[in-house]
Symmetry: C2
C-alpha cells in the first residue's frame, strides 16, 4: 500500500513529506521538505507553549491542514508520483504543546499534547483518508506520547547480533536502543536533550536560518562554565522513558547564551548536544551501530563531535535506504498503515505506556454507500 507521511518538527523548518510503499518492507518513493512561509512560522511560534486566543489556534489548525495538503500535492507534482496511487496519509501535524508528565488539574492527574494541522482538511483537499493525532492514544494509555519513531526504528534496524542505536537529530535529539534479537518489548527510547532547536535558535536570533554544516560552531570556543551549568539539568541523568520539548528550551533557556558570541554559543550548544547524546548511548555497552538521521546529520561538526566522543564512526539511515531527512515522515506513514491494520504501534519502553495500543484517529470522509 502506498502511504504518505507528513510532519513538521519542533524546529518549525517546514513540512516534511515522505511517500512510501509499505508491505513486508518500507520502500521510499518520494520525499521533500516544504518550508513554512515566514508569517506562518511566526504564527505557530506565537501560540506554541504560549498564551493565545483560542480562535487563533483554531484558524492555525485549519491553515496548517491546507499547507500540509499542499505540501503533499506539491511533492507529487515534483516527483511525478500520482496522487491517486496514494491510499492513506499519516499526518503527525505540528506540535504546539506537549507535557508528557502528569499534572494536577481540577482533581485529575493530566498529561496533554496538542498537534495542529486539521486532518479533515488534509483528507478533503487530497481525496485521501488521513490518520492523525498519534500521540493522544499513547498518553491515554499512560505513556508520555513520545517518542513514536522507535516503532519504525525497530522494524528497520533490529539485528540478530548487534545493538542498534537509532539517533535522531531533530529539534530535540532522541535515541532508540534495540538490543540484539530484541522483541518490541525490549526496545528503549527517549529524548536525550536539545539539538537543532537550540542551534537554530542561536543563529535565528542574529538573522541566520541555521549554521550550515556547523561552520560557525566549529570556529567557536566552548564556554565550559556554561556547559557544566547546562549539563547539571537533572533531566539528562533521569532514566528513560522521558521526553522533552520546546517548553524546556524556550526563551529562558536561550537567555543563558546571551553573553556569548554566536560562534561560542553554537560551539557550547553543539557540545551540549554531543555530550548528552553520547552519555545516553554509552549507557548501553556491547558491540553496536549508531544510525543517525534528522536534519542534524547535515551538521558535519555536530556529527564529528558525536563520533569523536563515541570513539567510533556514526552511520546514517541512508545506509539502510532511508533518507536522513525523511525518517520521521516515513514513521508516520508507517504508523498510519498500522492504524488501519489495527496494529498496536506504541513502544512501551519508549513512552512508558502501561499497554500497547493502536495509535491515531482515522478521518475518512468518503462515502462508500452511494
Amino acid at each position: 500500500m502506498r502511504v504518505a507521511g507528513l510532519i513538521s518538527g519542533t524546529s518549525l523548518d517546514g513540512i516534511d513529506v515522505a511517500i512510501v510503499d509499505v508491505g513486508s518492507s518500507i520502500v521510499p518513493v518520494a520525499w521533500s521538505s516544504v518550508p513554512y512561509p515566514s508569517d506562518v512560522r511566526d504564527a505557530i511560534l506565537s501560540v506554541s507553549d504560549a498564551i493565545a486566543h483560542i480562535g487563533t489556534v483554531a484558524r492555525l489548525n485549519n491553515l496548517l491542514g491546507e499547507l500540509f495538503a499542499q505540501a503533499l500535492i506539491q511533492t507529487c507534482q515534483h516527483s511525478g508520483v500520482q496522487m491517486d496511487s496514494i491510499k492513506l496519509i499519516g499526518s503527525h501535524g505540528q506540535t504546539i504543546y506537549h507535557q508528557g508528565k502528569l499534572q494536577s488539574f481540577c482533581g485529575f492527574q493530566i498529561a496533554s499534547t496538542v498537534q495542529i494541522g486539521e486532518s479533515s482538511i488534509i483528507a478533503e483537499r487530497t481525496g485521501i483518508p488521513t490518520v492523525s493525532d498519534f500521540r493522544q492514544g499513547d498518553m491515554a494509555a499512560g505513556g508520555q506520547g513520545a517518542p513514536l519513531v522507535p516503532f519504525l526504528d525497530y522494524f528497520l534496524f533490529c539485528d540478530a547480533e548487534l545493538t542498534r542505536i537509532a539517533l535522531n537529530l531533530g529539534g530535540i535529539a532522541n535515541i532508540t536502543v534495540i538490543p540484539p534479537n530484541a522483541t518490541l518489548q525490549d526496545v528503549i527510547a527517549f529524548d536525550t536533550g536539545p539539538s537543532n532547536m537550540v542551534l537554530d535558535g542561536l543563529t535565528q536570533a542574529v538573522g541566520l536560518p541555521y549554521d550550515k554544516g556547523g561552520c560557525e560552531a566549529r570556529q567557536g570556543c566552548v564556554d565550559e562554565v556554561l556547559l557544566k551549568k547546562l549539563l547539571a539539568d537533572r533531566y539528562y541523568e533521569m532514566p528513560g522513558p522521558k521526553s522533552t520539548g520546546r517548553e524546556q528550551y524556550g526563551k529562558k533557556f536561550m537567555d543563558c547564551f546571551s553573553k556569548l558570541s554566536l560562534r561560542d554559543g553554537l560551539a557550547t550548544a553543539t557540545e551540549l548536544t554531543a555530550q548528552t547524546v553520547v552519555e545516553a548511548i554509552n549507557r548501553y555497552p556491547g558491540k553496536k551501530d549508531v544510525i543517525a538521521s534528522g536534519g542534524g546529520v547535515h551538521n558535519t561538526y555536530l556529527m564529528e563531535r558525536i563520533s569523536c566522543k563515541l570513539g567510533m564512526p556514526v552511520k546514517t539511515s541512508a545506509d539502510w535506504g532511508i533518507p536522513i531527512d525523511a525518517k520521521e515522515a516515513i514513521a508516520f506513514a508507517y504508523l498510519a498503515w498500522c492504524c488501519i491494520e489495527h496494529r498496536p504501534s506504541n513502544v512501551e519502553g519508549a513512552t512508558g505506556a502501561r499497554k500497547s495500543v493502536v495509535l491515531g484517529k482515522l478521518t475518512d470522509p468518503f462515502s462508500r454507500c452511494h
Copy 2:
C-alpha cells in the same frame, strides 16, 4: 448496534449521555445528564472564545475526556445497561470556539471550530471505539459545521404530508425544516438565535442556575425598546444556512440587560427567543408540526410564548419517543454509526457545505491482530 452519544452544549450545564439501539429505527435505551463540577465549568468558560494558555486548553481537553467517559460509565451503572453491550461512542465534545464564516488568515480563507473532550481517553477508559470531531469534516467541505442534528431530524420526523419543523431550544435555538416527502437535499436548518444561553446567563449573574419553568420571566415586563434594538441584529433576517454561538452572545451582549431587573431581563430575553424562533418558522407556509426538544422545553413560559406567537400548539420530540433532553446526544450516537458505516451525514441545506461527506474521526485503539 448499541451506540452511545455524548455532548455538552454551549449552555455548559454538563454532559448529556444517550444510549440507543440503531438500526432501521432509533430506540433510546438510557439517557441522563451529568452536571459539570463548578471548577470545570469555570475552566471551560475561561478558555471559551478567550485568550488562554494552550497548556490549559490541552489539559482541559484531556480532563473532559475523563469526565465524558465517567458520565457514560455512570449512566450505565444507574440504568443497568451493560457497558460491553455498547459497541460505539459518538462524542461531540464541548465547543470552546466556533467560527463558521470564512476569515482571512495568512493568505487563506479559514473557518474554524474547536471541540474538546479527548476521544483517545474516552475510548481507553470505556473500552469502546469513539467517533469525535464531527464538525470539522463539514467545514472542510465548505460548510459552517453546524447544525448537525438535522440529519437525525430528517430520519426521525420526515412525513409524507406535513412540513415538519424540529425546534431545538438549547443554549442556541435552531430549527430543521423538513418539507413533505423531502429528500435530504430538501432539508433546511439554521440557528434562529439565542435561547437558554442568554436566559441562564441572566439568572447566573445573580447566583441562580436557571429560571425554573420560566417563573421569573413570567413575572417580568418586556423592555420593548431593548427588544427592538436586539431584534435589529441583521443575523435574524439573514437567510440560512447560518450558525451562531457563544461568540455572539458573550459579555458585550449580556451587558445590554444590565439596567433591567432580573425578571424584566428574563421576560425580554424570552421574547427575543420566542420572536426570532417564530419569525423563522413562519417563513415556511403550509400545514406543519413544530416538534420541540432541548432544555428550553422545560421552560413552560418560553413554550407558551412560542405557541402563542405561532397560533398553534407546539409538540415535543417525546411524542415520537425521543426524550426532549436527549435528542442532541442521540444525534451524535447516530452520526457515529453513520461514520463507521461510511454514510455521509451532513445536511447541505443546514450547513451550506458544497457536498455531502462522512463526518467524524474514528479513534479505535484496540488491537485486532493479536
